[in-house]
Every structure is written in C-alpha cells, then in structure tokens.
C-alpha cells in the first residue's frame, strides 16, 4: 500500500502528479536540483531533497542521489513522470532491488519496447500492423524488387547506417526501383562507407495518432481511445486533440484492439501509449510504444473522465483496474496546447527568464497545468515548456473557440511564449476543418506567421501603451533627476 511517493521529476508534471497524490491522501516527496530551489514542485511537496547541481545528468538523471532521497524520506514508491528516468530500465531495476515501488512498467517491458527491432518483431508476432518493409538490410536487387512488389510503391530506400537524408531515395514508380536503389547504395557508400540499405513503405500525408492504454498486474488491459498528435514542429508535438478528426468509429475500435494486443504482447502493466502512423486512407501502422505517462495525457483524462495518475498508483499497488473496456466512452472533445518559453518570431529560440506577470486562463471547460508563478525564473537547464492548456467542449468547433478564448486570456510578461502562435493555429482553415497531417505547420507557415490586419486606431493605442511603459521604465531607472516628475507621480492601480 503506497503511502508516500517520491516524484523524480520537476516542472508541471511533478506538480500534476503530487496533486493526485494529495487527493489520495498520499504524502509527497520532491527532489530538486540546485537551480530549482524556488520551483513550484518543491513548494508543493510535503518533503523536499536537493539531489545535485543544475545539469540533469548530475541531478534528475542521478539514480544514486534519487534513491538516497527516497530512503531518507521513507518513500515507498517513485513516480518518474515523463522524460528524465521515466523510460530507464536500469532505474526501474534499481528501484526493485531497493524495495521501492517503481510507478511504471517493469524493466523487461521498457527494454523490449525501447529497442526498435525487438519492438517491431513483437508487434508483428502479435498481429499488430507495422510499417511494411524490411528491418535488416536487403541483399540484392532481386530481393528489393520482390519486397517492393509486395508492399507497393511509394517506398523509401534508406541507408542502414543512415541519417540526415543521405542515402535515402523515394521511389514513386516501379520502373525507378533499380536506378533508385543503385543511387541510394552509391550515396550510402560515399557517405558512410557502407552501402547497406533497407526498404520501407513511404507514408504520404502521415498522421500521428496514439492510443492510451492501462494494464494492471493481473493481466487486464484496456485502451482509453486515441490522441491525434499530428500538429508538430520539428517532430515536437505542439497541439493534441481527442477524438481525432480523421478516424472513423470502426477504425478507432480496430486500432484500440491492436493497442491492447500490443501492450499484452509486451507483458505490459501501468499506463502506456501505442503510437501509430496513419495515412489518409486510414491505413495504420505501429510506430513505437511509450512506456510512461505522456505530456498530452490530460486530454484523455478529460474526455474519458479518468485520472491516469491515480490509476497508475492503483496498478503499482497491485489493484485490479476498476474499469472494463465497455465502461469507457469518449465524451465531447478535448484539445491541448503546449505553451513554451520560446520566440516564434525568431525561429522559436528558447526564451528563459523571469516571469513578471501571469494571468492564467480560467472558466468553463478550461484546465491549466503549469508550475511557474510571478517572480519565478525559468532556468536555462531544462525543457522550455511553461504549461499545458487543455480545453473541453461538447463539440470540436466549440473546443476550438474555447481554446482561442483561453489563449487570448493567457497573459505572461517577462518571457516570450508561443501563445500567439498557438492562437493563430486555432484560426487556420486546415486546423478548423480537421484536415491536417504532420506537414501542417510547414504547409501553413505563411498563414501562421502572417501579421493580422489592423486599423490605425488600435496601432495608435499600442503606441500609447509603449510610450507609457517606456517612460515609466526610464523614470524608474533615472537617478540624475532629468526625467520629468509627472511620470513618477502617475497613479498606478497597484
């Protein structure tokens, strides 16, 4: 029976996990790096231990120090959150050896799913569709022709030693197979000194859709439907929603059953995610399994009405899942936006700094999972995510309108954020119509970066505000008395 949980993480996810612990009457232990003394998770916890200097490798990835804090605080379980040690099999093993419950899967499942080839083979054996193609290198042109005849064009020929697009060839017509193969091999030989290549089905208009699963230690596994995660920038998710506007009910059920089969094949328990790549014709293929809680888990919580962290703790306790597949349904629509400290106008450069002011969006259908507060300095050492804004509404269109409203309410000064960029996505026709894939941002970049139209008056009001703020700043720093007195006498509300 878990009575005290050490959360081996920081930021919003550490606070989010502690919230569920509090509701369960479970005491919480924070660990923090020297850069995080003032961070919210330290303030939120019942106990707090410093585990090393700012760099993650010396603190949040330092297994010895974390185990030491768990022992000092008498924590009987550790929740790893996401990132850091959450998919580290060695850490899971170490917890086992130390007699501390790891709130997550066993190390065997982590290892199996962490290795791309093992994962693929396990899935094939379980009847879960994988991206058609070879995993090992192909041996000759005959084999290539045969494989491509089986899986059909278009395909990608990729260098086994590959990376950076070198030794990679897209084959659209069967006629081009041999020439493309030779060019890929030649390029691979030149680039890597190894002409091994393999062949993979090329997915046009790919959608990234994942299924949330929960499995207990008694062999019960359920899925909690999908999350559509195709709005990405440089392979980083930006916006997620559920239900996916792409899936039909039939495909949803089919994929859900495959997701359950995938988890069972891995001997999995805990919360996990099966990622699929889906094309416009609703062909879907297993991509990988994430053996942890995902950043975007709240949209599933909102639509299915289940607290995933509480379920993870229940599973770690050895309890049977309190729900059967038939008990679950998707109710309404949820969208999540990830708010980053970054500057969209300057190539999304990170923008660490001190939060001067924050107005958080509130009201009906809005959930805001954050950790920063006024006066808090966002450290340079960790992820730039400030918070996650989650909205729910009865329909997808209402959810989009609500997200727009919430993003406009959300005001942070002191650091630059992606808030306005996200608000623009909510107005993008391809997003509004639900007609998008992982190329969405790239395809709509002009629209996303375009400055909105504006009349002269509101521009002039902005100029006036700039004048007022700047003269106020000058008056504050002025020590030589040359600044006009009127400014400093100006009555502030606060």
């Amino acid at each position: 029976m878990i009575r005290k949980v050490l959360v081996a993480n920081r930021g919003e996810i550490a606070v989010r996990i502690m919230r569920s612990c509090r509701e369960m009457g479970i005491r919480t232990v924070a660990v923090y790096s020297e850069a995080d003394r003032a961070s919210m998770h330290v303030r939120y916890a019942d106990q707090a231990y410093c585990i090393g200097p700012a760099p993650s490798v010396e603190s949040y990835l330092n297994i010895d120090n974390i185990i030491e804090a768990a022992k000092a605080s008498n924590a009987d379980a550790i929740h790893p959150g996401y990132g850091f040690l959450s998919e580290n099999a060695e850490f899971s093993d170490r917890c086992d050896r130390e007699g501390i419950i790891f709130i997550g899967p066993n190390s065997h499942a982590i290892r199996m799913m962490g290795d791309k080839i093992t994962a693929r083979k396990t899935m094939m054996a379980a009847g879960v569709p994988v991206v058609p193609g070879t995993v090992d290198k192909i041996h000759d042109e005959e084999e290539a022709l045969k494989i491509i005849a089986e899986i059909g064009v278009p395909v990608m020929i990729k260098a086994t030693a590959g990376g950076g697009g070198k030794g990679m060839r897209l084959v659209k017509h069967a006629d081009d197979i041999i020439s493309s193969l030779r060019m890929a091999q030649s390029e691979a030989r030149n680039a890597f000194g190894d002409d091994s290549v393999y062949i993979e089905k090329y997915i046009q208009s790919p959608h990234h859709i994942e299924f949330q699963i929960l499995a207990d230690k008694l062999g019960n596994t359920i899925h909690l439907f999908e999350r559509e995660c195709s709005v990405q920038r440089r392979h980083q998710k930006v916006i997620e929603e559920t239900p996916s506007p792409l899936l039909t009910e039939a495909i949803r059920n089919e994929m859900g059953q495959h997701a359950v089969a995938a988890a069972k094949a891995a001997g999995y328990y805990g919360a996990g995610t099966i990622e699929f790549i889906v094309d416009d014709n609703l062909n879907y293929y297993f991509l990988e399994m994430n053996t942890r809680l995902q950043v975007e888990h709240p949209i599933t919580e909102r639509v299915v009405g289940i607290d995933l962290v509480k379920e993870m703790i229940g599973i770690a306790n050895g309890d049977p899942l309190p729900y059967k597949q038939g008990d679950l349904k998707q109710n309404g629509h949820a969208i999540e936006c990830r708010i980053y400290a970054e500057d969209p106008d300057n190539n999304f450069m990170p923008s660490p700094g001190t939060i001067q002011h924050i107005t958080e969006p509130l009201g009906l259908g809005v959930r805001h999972d954050g950790y920063v507060y006024e006066g808090y300095t966002i450290p340079i050492h960790y992820d730039p995510m400030i918070s996650k804004l989650i909205v729910w509404a009865k329909t997808r269109q209402e959810a989009i309108n609500r997200m727009s409203r919430a993003l406009h309410e959300y005001k942070i000064t002191g650091v630059k954020t992606s808030i306005r960029f996200l608000a623009r996505i909510m107005e993008t026709p391809d997003f509004v119509s639900g007609n998008y894939n992982t190329h969405f941002i790239e395809k709509n970049l002009d629209f996303l970066m375009q400055e909105p139209e504006c009349d002269g008056q509101c521009e002039d009001i902005a100029l006036i505000a700039a004048y007022l703020d700047y003269t106020r700043k000058l008056a504050k720093v002025s020590t030589n008395g040359t600044t006009q007195k009127a400014v400093s006498r100006w009555k502030d509300v606060r």
């Binding site: 660490p352 005001k411 902005a462 004048y467 100006w490």
Partner: protein
C-alpha cells in the same frame, strides 16, 4: 518620442495628464485616453468606449516590445533621444555591423569553435550556446579576424552578453 511599429515610424507625445486621463498626440491625431497600469507590463486603456487590455512583453533590450491586445500583436521599437544617441555611438563602434556576436538569450556555452587571432569567413559557425535542451549555432555575419573571445566553454551567460568580437 519616435516609436516604430511594424515598419511605421510614428511621433508619440504626451500633451497633458490628469490622474488616469492622459491626452496623447500620435502623429497628428489627438487621443484622450483613460489609462491604468494594472500589473507589471499590463495596461488597461479605454478610448471612446473601447476597452484595450494591453500586454507589453519586453524584448531583449528595454526599447523593444512585443505588444499584444485581444486581437492583435505588434512589434514596437522605441527611438527616443537617449536611444538615438546610444544608437549613434553603437553605430560608431561595431554592433550594427555584425562584428559583435551577442547571446540573444540566457544559456550555457557548449562549444567555442574559434580562438583569438583566427581568420573567419562570413557564415562560419563560431560558437554553440545551449538553452532549454536546444543548441543554437552562432555564425559570423562578416569575414575577419577574431579579436576577442569573451566567454569560456561551460560558462553560463545572460541575454545580450558579448560572446565574440570580430575585427
């Protein structure tokens, strides 16, 4: 005071002030506004019955802002006399000619690829700064000889810190 907004240069002056009621002149237009600072960087301005809740996000320098209202976002740059003087001094030195590499954000120096005295070409990567798990390369905008390397590898730097000077 001269202020640039999205490429337009405007003259903004205060005509009179009575508590929160401020009369401003923007180019040739007079505005009597009811203006309150409600929090750090947040202003409530009412003009002819329209309510503007304006959010001022200071850029890396004090005179650059991103200004958000409910429906719009602007880039604003203040060009006051003081700034103009500073600008002219900076022009006289090297900043605006791309000879000084400044850190655009706080971060950690991951790698310095040049040493004092090295000849560098425009476009050549000089230094790599990491912040929030993202590494950014900074390249020479002009060709020349490295005059000064102001930081060391592993060092933590603030925004606008001088990193490297090219001569």
């Amino acid at each position: 005071m001269e202020i640039n907004i999205e490429g337009r240069s405007a003259t903004v002056d205060e005509v009179s002030r009575d508590g929160n009621i401020i009369t401003m002149k923007v180019d040739n237009e007079l505005y009597e506004v009811d203006a309150l600072r409600v929090a750090e960087g947040i202003y409530s301005i009412i003009y002819k019955g329209r309510s503007y809740n304006i959010e001022m996000i200071a850029d890396s320098t004090a005179r650059h802002y991103t200004v958000n209202s409910w429906y719009n976002t602007y880039k604003v740059e203040i060009i006051d006399a003081q700034t103009r003087y500073k600008l002219s001094r900076e022009k006289g030195s090297h900043t605006d000619e791309g000879k000084v590499i400044l850190s655009p954000m706080p971060g950690k120096v991951v790698k310095i690829l040049v040493a004092e005295g090295d000849q560098v070409e425009a476009g050549q990567t000089l230094i790599i700064i990491s912040a929030m798990k993202m590494e950014s390369e900074f390249k020479a905008r002009v060709s020349g000889v490295i005059k000064n390397v102001s930081v060391t590898e592993g060092e933590t730097v603030d925004a606008n810190r001088e990193l490297i000077v090219i001569e």
